[in-house]
Symmetry: C2
Subunit: 447 residues, 2 copies
């Protein structure tokens, strides 16, 4: 499974035709700055979570055009011979800055800043957007779930509800946002995430009786295992499980029914049978609101599937990748000129962005401060948000996934309390836009 | 890019622990029938579209546990030594029947029927669900779009809005459902789908003037290319494009604004400039309702992104994979016994399913007829829906992707007219459930 796939064709055709036309026109090497950013948060959300950074860095490193890819592009006349030759030697040689993985973001946050020649930088557009738009959507939903679960473990179980490779990325994003384990084995192997899983209803149905099925599972997985108790009659199943383990059963799983009521009944039954340490795991169509509704129920863990891998109503993040500045000729020393499309409904702001998180004296986040063309002046408490990810084509921002996970919990804990409300709301903090001279400008993304 | 990845870890852990427990209990080889089916259509939808069959067959063929996968599973104690040995020799040896790709489905349709030993069949659960849940969601949305586009070409452009490998699968599913091309290059290479793409706003912004950018694009891609005309002023851009091509410009693309109004103004302008053959392509946040709203506008093609790759509000299909029958011992000759979980909110029906589409004398679909335990009696016009996909472990149901695309258009054209309404509705035809003796039974999925 450790085969490394090239990523260069995970790309929209227009990037290749632009490279072709720019090479012919002599404009391909103009130094350029592209930025990946959201114009807004998903409707009603109060913050977003950065995820996919490590995957994006992998994708940049693997972005090479092999012979088969070039033959395909040439055969379809997507590129000409000169472009094919240029692609054969392609390797991103520029710089990338970005919000580190796990960080919080808001409307307009410059999540990724790519600087390089136009052609080399425009080619990364689709693959970066694909990774960020997906992974941040999952992490943003996951963070709301782990926040409202208030320390109870959340297990990612959504693989079956999303495309098979998205499933692996989703498990990774959920881990960044505080999930404690995944059912997805490839995510366990590839990203060293803890994995969980015991048995489905089919296992009970396979056997001649529920007791036979439980005996088989206990023999193989031990008394600490989790028995699925709602195939036939929940009460009977629990009695059987407790009896077979002399009260030492690890956990029971409920996958249907009115969970708050059932959890209370099941807890009372387990306690009455002496199985006071047996945990209750619930897994039926959970989302952040259902988790909130279970806060006072005697539940020991949540398994979350569909709502997680579909971003709980927002399966994509709405990021765009826009040229914001470029040189007027191919001289690497030429100054950058801000550029922006004129549009009233699809805004972008010319000029390279810088960003910091403004914190008050108690360390609570107050504002996202975005400097256009120059880094904004920060106070002592302020935290710069952009870190170096790629320098001269070399990845310098790789880090263990646990670092992202810890950063997320830390950054989320800085937010004002209302950020964690489940109700629809505005972004949890305001965004201040500053000109290069430090003067404030109107928020371009506020309607 | 033609590296073939094994698929065996694209799996939930519980499938492996069930195999482990069943091997130890001596129940792993009980002949079993699993079915993949929807309990309902996404809310308000009138039909669903089968896609992903070819990908699923590939995944079954590549479902092998290599040494690295087995080391991982053994290292985490997901499996024991006996199970590890069994996995090393794993190769699905059973039979698979299913709805062919492109076919229409309804609530309860048995899209896939897998027969084999319990252990070998349960292992396919997650990867089959991942593929079908994703690909059918995309194809079902895509079919509504191509239906309402009424012959105008639809181009899939959503790669950037979904995970990078989902993007490839989405382009494939859209093609099955009648899209005419994709922007995704890997989908072009892997599945031989026509690809499209010319230039983004960044290409115009890169150059010193819009005219310079257009000249560069026309020089590289020819006069038949599509110019993006809304970077600055649409009218001026069109005048420039027409002038540079002496009226022979292939197409203009509008990516913002009030499209029905703009399309009319742009058509009038093009015609007044003598560019009567220049086509108008629109690409801004289209979905099936926006496409319907453009039906009377002078538009020549639609580029669809976000709404397509997110299933237009329904990013997953809600399929489940359930054990419906199994033998009482490991003897391959033992009869199958129907099994089903007892549940009021998550229904499945015991017994192997068969299915046909009932057509009236005019060839219009009237009903989905599902036989439980035996094939239903069909009339002369009725069409059996299940085809053989895998026989004794060998894939026998592979077909060119174009066959699926043609089948979809054919099957959709059989539906009653109201099936193609964009408004929320009930499934376009009813489903009849028949017992093995031919007696009708109540529809188990109707509440």
């Amino acid at each position: 499974m450790s085969v490394v796939l090239p990523t260069a064709l995970l790309t929209d055709q227009y990037e290749l035709t632009m490279v072709r036309a720019a090479l012919a026109a002599g404009t391909a090497d103009r130094r350029s700055v592209f930025e990946l950013f959201p114009r807004r948060l998903p409707d009603g959300r109060r913050y977003g979570v950065v995820a996919g950074v490590g995957r994006a860095l992998d994708a940049i490193e693997r972005f090479r055009f092999d012979e088969e890819a070039i033959d395909f592009l040439r055969g379809r006349d997507v590129v000409d011979d000169a472009t094919a030759e240029w692609l054969a030697g392609y390797r991103f040689s520029g710089d990338v800055w970005g919000y580190p993985e796990g960080e919080i973001y808001f409307p307009g946050s410059p999540l990724v800043v790519v600087e390089g020649g136009f052609a080399e930088a425009v080619l990364l557009e689709t693959v970066l957007l694909s990774i960020y738009n997906h992974d941040c959507a999952i992490a943003s939903a996951a963070s709301r779930m782990t926040a409202v679960a208030e320390g109870r473990p959340c297990i990612e179980m959504g693989s079956r509800r999303t495309q098979e490779r998205s499933a692996v990325a989703a498990a990774r994003a959920a881990w960044v946002a505080g999930f404690t384990a995944t059912s997805n084995l490839e995510a366990g192997r590839r990203w060293d995430i803890p994995t969980r899983g015991t048995a489905a209803h089919s296992f009970t149905l396979l056997h001649d009786s529920e007791a036979d099925a439980f005996r088989a599972q206990l023999a193989a997985l031990g008394e600490e295992t989790t028995l699925l108790v709602d195939t036939y009659d929940v009460e009977q199943a629990i009695r059987t499980g407790v009896e077979l383990t002399s009260g030492r059963l690890g956990a029971v799983r409920l996958d249907s029914g009115d969970l708050p009521v059932m959890a209370r009944n099941v807890r009372a039954l387990l306690d009455s049978l002496g199985a006071t340490s047996t945990r209750i795991i619930v897994t039926s169509d959970l989302d952040e609101w259902n988790i909130a509704a279970l806060a006072s129920a005697p539940v020991d863990g949540y398994g979350v599937g569909t709502a997680l891998v579909t971003g709980s109503g927002h399966p994509t993040s709405g990021f765009v990748y826009k040229l914001v500045a470029r040189a007027t000729d191919a001289d690497p020393a030429s100054p950058l000129v801000p550029v922006a499309k004129k549009s009233t409904d699809k805004i972008s702001v010319g000029g390279r962005k810088h960003a910091l998180r403004r914190l008050d004296a108690d360390g609570v986040a107050e504002a996202e401060v975005i400097g256009v063309g120059a880094p904004p002046q920060g106070d002592a408490n302020d935290r710069p948000l952009l870190v170096e990810l790629v320098r001269g084509g070399e990845v310098v921002g790789a880090e263990p996934l646990d670092a992202a996970r810890e950063r997320h919990l830390r950054s989320r804990s800085e937010l004002p309390l209302e950020a964690l409300k489940m109700s629809r709301g505005e972004p949890a903090i305001e965004t201040l836009w500053l000109e290069a001279d430090g003067d404030a400008q109107a928020n371009p993304f506020q309607h």
